[in-house]
Symmetry: C2
Subunit: 406 residues, 2 copies
């Protein structure tokens, strides 16, 4: 049988694990149908396995085994991440790119000698990994301010119910309504220390005062009706607030306040501010780590990025800003699948890969076409890789079937 | 007249600038009364001035001049900060301390040779300053995730209306209700990369799922009454959620959700999580900057700290954690007044200071007793220093009066 196949990628949010397993069960059934139960060998069922990595590999271990009735092989998350990344950046054309507003996807040719480099993996939290060679890496740092922080806070602060709703909101907001900019503090640039007036001095730095002011005004006007009878000049006695020209009523968007009629800022402004804050922060720490460990290349991966232009723009800007243009941020088309692909590859022989295969089809986003040169050990088997931290990601191939999983 | 005096410190939040100016006007009147209008000289009024620094020095410049009718001398914020800090750490005993849970205020002797060091100034935003010598400094970095972010987000997420209410809330919370810990992901330590099960993997990482789950349950039970008539076994058909043992109903505190009866976490949990997130992040960036610039001493100043034990504990922990115990965080009793004191000192001759004065009284928190050796230029004048970024801070002295301003 001619070896071959195609990798397909699919992701499920973590709490849709049951849908995910259901999908996998159907794939397994299809596989058994195609490869036959009674082919004179029981290999097709016994060779079938699920490669799993990330936190979900532990959390859902029993569940996956029970539902699918196949072996679950757990692989170390960081190792899988690195193996996956190495594979993508060394073997896959039109995979690695730099982002800029004028050229959102400038592809970089795959290179064989890429070490050492920094991998910033952004999931619920963030890990910074120094990669010195193939499968040779060290976790040099991390921050708890990651995707989980953004989604968690935005789910509390906005009406958005899905990640994509939040990103859509963020693309419509104006962060200067909630962020205190250098210009808000100094009225101008703070040139002496190199800060532009548009630089964010404090994320959400305007909120506390605006909110208190709105509440104050609500109380004042609420109490006014009673007070007026005794103190008709009440308002004239009060000193004018210096912030009064900065009216808190500017917007029609959804308001974070449940009790006021007057909206100083909306859900979209909050969303973009928090997106900037988290992305800038990750970019800054990435730059500092790259300085300490003398790494010139910084790759960003993980499920947080989701191909979202503002996120990539902010990360790119942060790297350029802090490195004074000396360094760039690199992204990957398959950013969310590094671990899953790494786990998948752990079942493949070392010489398996994309290189030397036909380039029969143009690259299609989120679909990676591969011809698999499979070893006899793997022939006839199917592998699905599952990565379960902050979403379940699947990829896999089944020998001989046109398009498989997962 | 015997030179002498005492510095007193007082702070007003920024939107109470009018109260602050009112207070200063009364001090000015008192000063004129004591030093006389008609003493044969007009020096006492014309020498009176306000030293101002920070953003407020620009924003409130006209206002201060108009209300007080005295000169306002604006001084560069960073320079004042450094001058103030230098003064405190080189001249004032029982000023600099390290924090630990067992010894919350371990004082460090003032030293003359302290350079170079890193100053982390935490106000609405955060600045990282490398100080190489007296009045010799460079801003090496900054982050917009500072005090303004904490107060802004907490004012939206909790019922708290003042900073101190928020800190009080934070001291009662349990961050593991909202933060995703390493143990939540792996069920154990992730020893291979040196992460304890209690390490925060993702700040607010549990919120998104818990909130969605609570909403789902509310919808399910809301819709149940109608559905039951047609599908009595509805609930039994549904796959059990793997998270169901982790009941969202655990707490009686105020809830961030306005519409549910069921509270997976409360305002206190949110407060402590955000306090940890911001403090840890500042601590981490401080450590990385200290590595890049080879600085062994890291001082924390600015109005954010407010003598709050959890904040100091988190900053200290972050420095120890990242430096593997090699570095410590240093704090100052007068953390919020560095800039104000620096501005004040710019009107003092270089040899003015605390050294050589009587140590007549034990140190009292937030009150710094000084004997001022005043030059003839300053004799009879009064100086108030105002610092106006994220709160107005005043300090000052008036010659000959026992306890003055401001």
């Amino acid at each position: 049988m001619e070896p071959g196949g195609r990798l397909n990628f699919l992701s499920f949010e973590t709490d849709r694990i049951d849908e995910c397993l259901d999908y996998m069960r159907r794939l397994k059934d299809k596989h058994l149908e195609l490869n036959g139960h009674g082919n004179g060998s029981s290999r097709s069922t016994s060779d079938l396995c699920v490669m799993a990595t990330g936190g979900g590999a532990y959390k859902f271990y029993d569940k996956i085994r029970d539902v699918l009735g196949v072996d679950v092989l757990r692989e170390d998350e960081m190792e899988c991440l690195i193996i996956g990344l190495d594979f993508f950046i060394t073997e896959i054309p039109r995979e690695v790119f730099t982002y800029s507003e004028t050229n959102p996807m400038h592809f970089v040719e795959p290179a064989e000698n890429v070490y050492p480099y920094l991998l910033v993996n952004i999931g619920s939290g963030v890990s910074f990994l120094k990669v010195s060679g193939p499968r040779e890496y060290e976790r040099v740092g991390g921050t708890s301010l990651g995707g989980g922080t953004l989604w968690g806070l935005l789910s509390l602060l906005t009406g958005a119910r899905t990640f994509d709703e939040m990103l859509e909101l963020a693309s419509q907001g104006d962060n200067s309504k909630v962020d205190m900019l250098v210009g808000d503090i100094y009225g101008t640039d703070y040139g002496k220390i190199g800060l532009k007036s548009t630089t964010i001095a404090s994320s959400f730095g305007k909120v506390f005062r605006k909110k208190r002011q709105a509440e104050q005004e609500a109380e004042d006007s609420g109490g006014q009706r009673h007070k007026d009878q005794h103190r008709p000049n009440h308002h004239h006695d009060e000193p004018q607030s210096p912030q009064s020209p900065d009216s808190p009523c500017q917007e029609d968007g959804p308001s974070p306040f449940s009790h006021d009629e007057c909206r100083p800022f909306g859900a979209a402004d909050i969303s973009v501010s928090l997106l900037y804050a988290i992305s800038n922060n990750i970019g800054q720490i990435a730059y500092l780590q790259s300085q300490i460990h003398e790494l010139s290349h910084i790759y960003f991966g993980g499920s947080f990025i989701r191909g979202h232009p503002q996120t990539m723009n902010t990360l790119s800007y942060a790297i350029k800003f802090w490195s004074k243009g000396a360094k760039q941020a690199y992204f990957l088309r398959h950013e969310g699948y590094l671990g899953a692909v790494g786990a998948f590859l752990k079942r493949q022989p070392r010489n398996w890969g994309r290189r030397g295969s036909f380039d029969e089809l143009p690259a299609v986003p989120l679909e990676l076409r591969l011809r698999a040169r499979r070893s006899s050990r793997d022939a006839g088997g199917a592998t699905a890789a599952v990565e379960g931290n902050g979403g379940v990601r699947l990829n896999g191939t089944v020998n001989g079937t046109e398009a498989v999983v997962e």
